[in-house]
């Protein structure tokens, strides 16, 4: 097959793979952004057992490779005789989503915690002496200051997440690298070529480029105050 013949076949496979990458990316964000907030509340709780427990969990999740977490979450139920994930791509996707959401929620929770604790105490006190309620102070005074604080570190994590989705290759989730690699072993009559793998990088670069611009704009928007 000539390159011109290979090209459309490969692109089609990579598109399908990248769609799976995107799905995992967005599902992780959608789950980890709110779950991270809950975890951050847990770690800031005045109920000590809860805050210790949460901090230990966060320490374990952040202190071990996501790849191990993926393998354990995907294979352990089956090895213990109860394969809750079911077979096939949808089972792998479900397991990967859960591993990613939990892992990223732990990272996000630390960022939120920094953002929440970074707002000076004086802001809350100023609101209180002006007769504002706690919830008015949270929504009208503190929230935007927290958002401003967390946008830069969140942007870093989000860009990292785009690339981290490729780790799900380890449980054979058919994301874009899986698709690119398949043409090395042989797939759809194409075998022993490396360029599709190189080409997967283009997908990451373009998508991260778009994200960088969007997140940069958000950061810029919040620059009107300090």
């Amino acid at each position: 097959m000539t390159f011109a013949e290979q090209f459309p076949i490969v692109i089609q496979a990579l598109n399908t793979g990248f769609l799976q990458t995107l799905k995992l990316f967005f599902v992780t964000l959608l789950g980890a952004i709110p779950l991270g907030l809950i975890i951050s509340f847990g770690s800031m709780s005045r109920f000590k057992p809860l805050s210790y427990f949460t901090k230990i969990v966060v320490w374990i999740i952040r202190g071990t490779p996501l790849m191990i977490q993926l393998l354990i979450i995907y294979f352990m139920p089956g090895l213990m005789g109860n394969n809750i994930w079911g077979g096939g791509e949808s089972g792998r996707f479900l397991a990967a989503s859960i591993a990613f959401i939990f892992n990223y929620a732990c990272y996000f929770s630390e960022i939120y915690r920094g953002g929440i604790q970074g707002v000076p105490k004086g802001q809350e006190e100023a609101g209180l002496v002006l007769g504002m309620t706690k919830s008015q102070i949270f929504f009208k005074v503190k929230l935007l200051q927290m958002v401003k604080r967390i946008v830069p570190p969140m942007s870093n994590e989000i860009i990292t997440l785009v690339k981290d989705t490729s780790l799900s290759r380890i449980i054979s989730l058919q994301e874009v690298i899986f698709a690119g690699q398949s043409f090395m072993k042989g797939n759809m009559g194409i075998a022993g070529v490396i360029w599709p793998l190189f080409f997967t990088a283009v997908y990451y670069l373009i998508f991260n480029g778009i994200l960088t611009v969007l997140l940069g704009r958000l950061e810029k928007k919040l620059e009107y105050f300090r």
């Binding site: 802001q123 209180l128 002496v129 002006l130 504002m132 009208k140 935007l144 105050f225 300090r226």
Partner: protein, 261 residues
Amino acid sequence: MAILEVQHVSKSFGHTEVLKDISFSLDKGKVLSLIGSSGSGKTTLLRCLNFLERPDGGVIRVNGETLFDAGDRATMKEGEIRRKRLHFGLVFQSFNLFPQYTALQNVMLAKELLEKEKTDYKARKKEIHKQIEAEAGNLLDQMGLSDRMDNYPHQLSGGQCQRVAIARALAMKPDILCFDEPTSALDPELTGEVLKVIKGLADQETTMIIVTHEMAFARDVSSQVIFMDGGRIMEQGTPAEVFENPKEERTKQFLSRFTNQ
């Protein structure tokens, strides 16, 4: 008649007693200066008045209404505290302006949120907003900031920030306005503009309690001075009594540090 009566207020943090048997009263339209060395409990006293700390003992009355009585749990209901706080205003040493709002918005925010809770707010929204905006504008005008209303705090000097903070506190029309070292965070050349504004308020008979290390200013502006030491009121009286004829040795020592400079 005394607008504020404080009786036997005490407060401890853990085992350290920070306020011991504090009693004084303040008449409407008068200015009280609180002086004393670092750690003597001045800030803690202001924070107790503003319900940022809860005293362990004592009574606080405003206009004859008992706002706080350590012996009466009913005076400590969380929901009531918010209403009671509005009798007092507090201007902080570090301004604590809301950075994401302009000067004008800083002054308007709390008032608007309060109005929003009233039942007829929806119907009269525009009218109420206009009125609050006009009042806030007037206050900033009075503070000499008419050309700074649309600036954000980071675009203002420290002196300007503090004047916005004063306008913000005044917008809630407190009975008693408290200042905690309002000029301590300012360069000397910016101190004057803030003191001038406070002097102006005193001339309009705004009831105020001012914690300050500016002795000349305290003598000039106040009708009553309290010298605190180690959590106790050591001495109180008119500026003439406290500054010219201090009775206590501690007061003399403290004041000599300022006259020797």
